[in-house]
Amino acid sequence: MFKKSKLVSALAVAGVTLMAAQAAQAQVIKIDGSSTVYPITEAVAEEFQKAKKNAIKVTVGISGTGGGFKKFCRDETDFSNASRPITKAEMELCKAAGVEYIEMPVAFDALTVVVNPKNSFLKEATVAELKALWEPSAQGKIMKWNQVNPAWPDAPVKLFGAGADSGTFEYFTEAIVGKAKSSRGDYTASEDDNVLVQGVSRDINAIGYFGYAYYAENKGKLKALPIVPPKGGAAVGPSEEAVIKGTYQPLSRPIFVYVKAKSLQKPEVKEFIEFYMKNAAVLTKEVKYVPLPAAAYTGNLEHVKKNKIGTVFGGHNEVGITIEELMKREAKM
């Protein structure tokens, strides 16, 4: 009895393997990439499938901005979520594989520097002070608050920050230290921002940074630090208004979705982009990011229609770009 069913199962496995290789794939829109952009794209995908009554399938994965581009340039995905512009190396990778893409900024994020709510001595911070805390030469040396600013107390500093593989880490180090990926290593690093939220909320001497959404959802447990802009002036805290005005500097950053030009031949991909751009403003706000002006979204659609391939960043990450500057640049394309 049993051996018979085992034979059958062995045959079935062989059958599965053979048939699977030839199975016609149903149409699926594949998206992968940054965990920062994920909440927005997920919200759009969720609403899109509801609106289409599940006639079009969308999948969204998280493999980080870099990991996402690797798959994208290998021609495996239709869209790539990115919390920074595509880099030179990635552009070349895509080029080698013949993958062309259209860049679409979808929202702004305010990287937020947070401290414990019981922390009374920190009201604001300058970029120079943050740099003194985070630069590589501070490793093992700057261990107390008063080493950075004599007005601060003689207490140990507990640092919490993004892990080295994330776009957030890249952007923060570039904006604060001046060089991407250049940071001290003796801090609590985690790719999981909730670990950082917990860490800062439990230690009065803690300071950390992550995307605005994690601060917005945990406002009771954290205090956001206003940053003195590098050009001078009053310190500005992270908020939608400050990002729109371009005063939250230098930690405001645009986030992107890249679409493969070849995928645009598929009608469902076009439909998805139209849906994305039409609903991005509302959904972006819902997941606690700062939406772009309506013109940015219509501009993206325009680029898609005219098939404007490439990036406006030329393979570099740029610090402190405002929504206005971004719009101007996109318009010139």
């Binding site: 049993f2 051996k3 085992k6 199962s9 062995a10 079935a12 496995v13 059958g15 599965v16 393997t17 048939m19 699977a20 290789a21 199975a23 016609a24 794939q25 149903a26 149409q27 699926v28 594949k30 992968d32 965990s35 994920y38 909440p39 997920e42 919200a43 995908a45 969720e46 499938q49 009554k53 599940n54 006639a55 079009i56 399938k57 969308v58 999948t59 969204v60 994965g61 998280i62 493999s63 798959k71 999981d192 921002d193 909730n194 995307g211 959404a213 994690y214 917005a216 959802e217 945990n218 819902e286 997941v287 606690k288």
Partner: protein, 312 residues
């Protein structure tokens, strides 16, 4: 002799001393056991209390969502079950056949020795290594992509050593006279295996298989490596039905479908900004635990049932 003889009192004291040691050791044992049990009970209780508000039918029938209260585990539990199905179909025939070969057919020589050592070693290889191997072989080389098939085969590799080892142990537990008796009446080696060895080893084999599957269902690392998805709001196609997209699925189309599994869904929920998702994660964690425990329960029941049917 006389020097060694003890008075009744002395013997009693000696016994009492021994009994005291016995009691102390017993107490220690019970304490350790209680500690281990307490941790499990606390863990489960914590998940149940935290996740209690999500134990609704909707939670099992809804797809993932950005709104915690509406988010469910439909794609995750279906994905987990289907991956387990592929894993079982791949690992059981190969694992049992390998075990039977090693015990009943293989000659005792250095090649067999090397194979045996390697199987034992394989059981200790970290699961992420299987993930990397599978990414190269199944996903890219064979072109299975990020599908249920790739995941199922990956986990099958992972539990293969467990299946092989438990098959061998079950076979070894069968008395030699059964084998000898069968051969004495003229049965071939194959007939002996088919009518005696495998049926009698079945309870042990099944236990091994299910314990292997219970381990596989909780695996996250290899599944992430081969690229399981995080947001997926549709199920693999049911054979011979037409989906909302107008495509009629073939018998095996589901194995090529993109998927997610329970551990990945839980992982995603714990790392989201909105703390409300922690409730979902706790509830899903409990469901996963219930799945593992019920698999173990099935293993125990089957073993009991089958043992009763063996009449030597």
């Amino acid at each position: 002799m006389q020097n060694n003889s003890l008075t009744t009192e002395q013997i009693r004291a000696l016994i009492a001393k021994g009994k005291l040691k016995d009691t102390i050791f017993k107490a220690m044992g019970v304490f350790c056991l209680a500690l281990a049990l307490l941790v499990i009970v606390l863990l489960v209780a914590d998940m149940v209390i935290k996740g209690s508000e999500r134990f609704t039918v909707d939670f099992f029938l809804n797809f993932a969502s950005r709104r915690a209260a509406q988010a469910g585990i439909l794609s995750a539990w279906v994905g987990s079950l289907l991956v387990m199905l592929v894993t079982a179909f791949a690992a059981v025939p190969i694992g049992v056949a390998a075990g039977v070969y090693l015990e009943e057919y293989a000659k005792r020589n250095w090649i067999t020795e090397i194979i045996e050592i390697n199987i034992t070693n394989l059981a200790a290889v970290p699961s992420i290594v299987y993930g990397l191997l599978a990414l190269g072989i199944f996903v890219y080389q064979f072109g299975f992509g990020q599908s249920i098939l790739s995941a199922g085969l990956t986990l099958a590799l992972l539990i293969l050593p467990i299946v092989i080892v438990s098959t061998r142990e079950a076979i070894r537990a069968i008395p030699a006279m059964i084998r000898e008796g069968s051969m004495a009446v003229g049965a071939t080696r194959w007939q002996t295996c088919r009518y005696h060895i495998i049926p009698y080893a079945m309870p042990g084999i099944l236990t091994g298989v299910i314990i292997g599957l219970a381990r596989a269902i909780g695996e996250t690392a290899p599944i992430i490596t081969i690229g399981a998805l995080t947001f997926i709001a549709f199920l693999p196609p049911v054979p011979y039905t037409t989906g909302a997209d107008g495509v009629t699925a073939g018998l095996f189309d589901w194995v090529m479908s993109p998927f997610t599994v329970m551990p990945i869904q839980i992982f995603n929920w714990t790392s989201r900004p909105d703390p409300a998702f922690e409730v979902n994660a706790a509830a899903a964690g409990f469901v996963l635990m219930a799945m593992v425990l019920s698999m173990n329960a099935v293993a125990i029941y089957l073993r009991y049932k089958m043992r009763k049917n063996i009449k030597w």
